[in-house]
Symmetry: D2
Subunit: 295 residues, 4 copies
């Protein structure tokens, strides 16, 4: 498949939902088209920003179909697979692949803590159930497990485990992963504090919720880095930083959805128990988007 090498800016797509939790298909298709026209290098539906841990399979399945169809092969689609049990994750991964995605991003919400052996077995099972490239995802803040460097090393025995997206912002751990596995595992940046650092030590791209609302600015930072214009990239990262500060104070999906509504995409509120931004939060996000030139 031509779309099997992923690099650049991959917005974490929000999942547009109405008040009853039903997918707003046309809004999603419009957003996909808009982002591709803005120049993004790929799309990642059903990540954290896409509220995957809160959606049932029917909604997730339909989300993938809409994104794949609207994308029409213009950029790669890397869809999230999110399930607490190994059996569920394997089943979802296989069905997701059949829907025509170019790759899979794995999330594992958790309950009981897991050791390395359990973590490795889980993701190995997923990898063996599909043929497409897999991007491992981890966000230790929201889980009771995390990848150790040793677990990642064992997981690279699976040939289609090709990418990692580490949301820790823990640059020490990232240094250890890059110096140990950097030849084998391609790394995507997450939090807006680290893309610059990631690109400098060899990262291939940035999967990002905020990129839904600032696609052009995200691409600008990526391109500056790719052309080794590092001081310029540093200035761009600093300029975008206030948006991330606001997004951390409020909630990620709520912020990205509020920003998209301001930009004319009626993506609706986040799924409860999450709540939509209140008036103060909307003002804060609006002010920052204006200052960045995204409104």
């Amino acid at each position: 498949m031509g779309n099997s090498e992923f690099r650049g800016i991959f917005p974490y797509l929000v999942t547009p939902l109405d008040e009853k939790g039903r997918l707003k298909e046309q809004v999603l298709a419009d957003l996909v088209d808009h982002l591709i026209r803005k120049g993004v290098h790929g799309l990642t539906p059903l990540g954290s920003t896409g509220e995957a841990p809160y959606l049932d399979w029917e909604t997730k399945r339909r989300t993938i179909e809409v994104v794949v169809k609207a994308t029409a092969g213009r950029v790669p689609v890397v869809a999230g697979v999110c399930n607490t049990s190994t059996q569920g994750a394997v089943r979802e991964a296989a069905e997701t692949e059949k829907l025509g995605v170019d790759g899979i991003l794995t999330l594992m919400p958790s309950y009981f803590p897991l050791n390395d052996q359990q973590v490795v077995a889980h993701f190995r099972s997923i990898a063996q159930a599909v043929a497409c490239p897999i991007t491992l995802y981890t966000n230790a803040k929201f889980q009771t497990w995390d990848f150790t460097v040793e677990a990642l090393k064992r997981l690279t025995e699976e040939p289609n485990i090709m990418y990692l997206k580490d949301a820790s912002g823990n640059v020490g751990k990232i240094m250890s992963i890059v110096t140990t596995l950097g030849q084998r595992l391609k790394i995507f940046s997450d939090t807006s504090s680290v893309p610059l650092f990631m690109f400098l030590i060899g990262g291939v791209g940035w999967m990002s919720g905020p990129a839904c609302v600032i696609p052009v600015q995200s691409i600008e930072l990526y391109e500056a880095a790719r052309r080794n214009r590092w001081e310029e990239a540093a200035e761009l990262q600093k300029k975008q930083w206030p948006l991330n500060v606001a997004f951390q104070r409020y909630s990620l999906s709520a912020c990205v959805k509020a920003g998209l509504e301001m930009q004319g995409f009626p993506v609706g509120p986040p799924m409860p128990p999450q709540k939509a931004l209140d008036a103060e939060g909307r003002r804060a996000v609006e002010g920052i988007l204006r200052s960045i030139g995204a409104l």
Copy 2:
């Protein structure tokens, strides 16, 4: 309904599963009958020990049906409702009530952190969707949220929110809950370190995974406390403590399932990514069960 006042020992039932994750219905029915004959005061399927966060709705629905039928009204059945989204939890709660349970225990696995307002709205929605008594459950170790005393106070505005099971083992927080809401909210003990303390400050019972394998010993401790034989209860709690130490070192479902297999109930392994106890763990659990007189 006669079974609406809950007190005493409520084993957290394991969910017997075969290697493919299919419910072993007869084993479950046998276990239910066995525990009732041993004298337990109620049954709680689909709690943490029941691996609720790892099961799909079909398996959960069938588990409730089997437990309700095998119980045949002899003791109250308080079934777990476990869903990350509010809509999903409301739907599960309503369907669970229709299956004939006497009460509901609410678990909320989580991803994004939640504030008090979000937490209160979630559980209020569940409470308003059913008529039966609700036991709020929280286990801060495995979640990105927890009940504050203030949130609990607001939740007691819902008349059917009647019980709380706090798994924190945080006796300071429990003191604050009891001194503030003790007249309104009945409290069940969780971890084996605290039943004695809980009973002494007014707790009504003990919902417990280990009670599946040591029902008689758990009842003995409860009865000693209920008859104000506190020194005797203290000695019993100390005697049972090593079992809990082992259960913490290994994993809860794996330990309870291993112990039940030793007692002749072929409940199978826990759901992956959890793993069955290894040989060393089985020896440890076996030794302790023998010393307690449970084998």
Copy 3:
């Protein structure tokens, strides 16, 4: 020495200081006399409440002298030894013993994390430097180390390590210590959430900052427990609990010092960087002390 068996209520004495950080010796002597007349079973200067981590050796030395003299053998004095380095702790312990105390309580503020081997070596060195009984103290919230059960087991090889005061409020850990080492190590309760629990599983007493302001009520709880009047003890603990809630919201030394000022002991403010209670905090503490009958 007749005073080598410690049991009952040991107030953690505040260290009365003027605005310049100088010891108010007469106030300290008066407080000592007052507490002994109220019936406390021992005195513990230079614990956490005594701000030991903030005081220089001269102030600490003089504090011990004043307390020993004012006590005049009426109750045992167990003085805190608080030093980050082993050499410093050993030197302080030896000098403290020479000042005529009946026992030593060991605090170890910390910087770099310590493993079991380092922890054991530190406290072993102190134990071997003195002949008097030692009470090990640990407060994991404020340290980068903690006692494991295994480390405690090794430390009981030192014959004069006889007592433990665990400030964790972690009842699971306390259960493990009591069931493993309960015959060898006598345990004092700390936080006001656990004395009842501690007495029931065999604790010998309660070392407590709040006991400076509620000595009579603390003794009442201890005596109810000692006479196996457990329900009465439970009611007393619940009644006193709001004081602890206030003390946690504000800062411990600031609260105890404010309460003592209200009772007529001009003990002064806590050492900076700690701050005295503000007006709102004083009102809260005053209201609770009144409701408990301590004002």
Copy 4:
């Protein structure tokens, strides 16, 4: 004073001590001379690596005297001031300044947690007690407090608070500090995972324990960054990273002291309760120093 602008590589000097904890003055003087000849841009005695939290004032005073004398004005000396109480810190700061240092680095080991108001008051008092430039230091892993961006903003009202060394490795927080206060507060890098990132977003230098054993390599990385040879700097940071991994596994002072012994500086063991590296740790450190070209 000509030495009031600090930039570049400042090794965190170890404090050479014999088995009895006495300063090895000649070894310290030799190390100072060696590092200056290797090209370091400044020296920082009595930081964490210098074991400041474990030393008494006499040893600290003498350490400063030896370093100031051996340096003889060739590079700036920024000495650590480390005290838990405000009064103690103020007194130490004033005396340290009199000993002829060019600047002060503030450490605050802690016990009770501190809020912003308390933190600000503490460091403001120190700043007002001296005329020399102050470098604020914070290492949240070892403390019960940390600087918020708001607290830092208020502290920049003191004109001589000019530098910050943040040991968190939390790049998100560093982004917030730089974008908010970057014009006012000059920032030094700490942990070896972040110098590259720090230099790129405007950091002025690197205060580093490992720089005692790899001064040349640290300078090389700094110079590559200063000349905007970012890809080269990235490769150098990756090459040095394994040293940091080893230093985290064992203990910092123990590792730096072991490395210096291998390089011919008999700096002795760290102060107990810290322990010297065991044979395995020494082998690990030796192997890495060889691979980096530092042995």
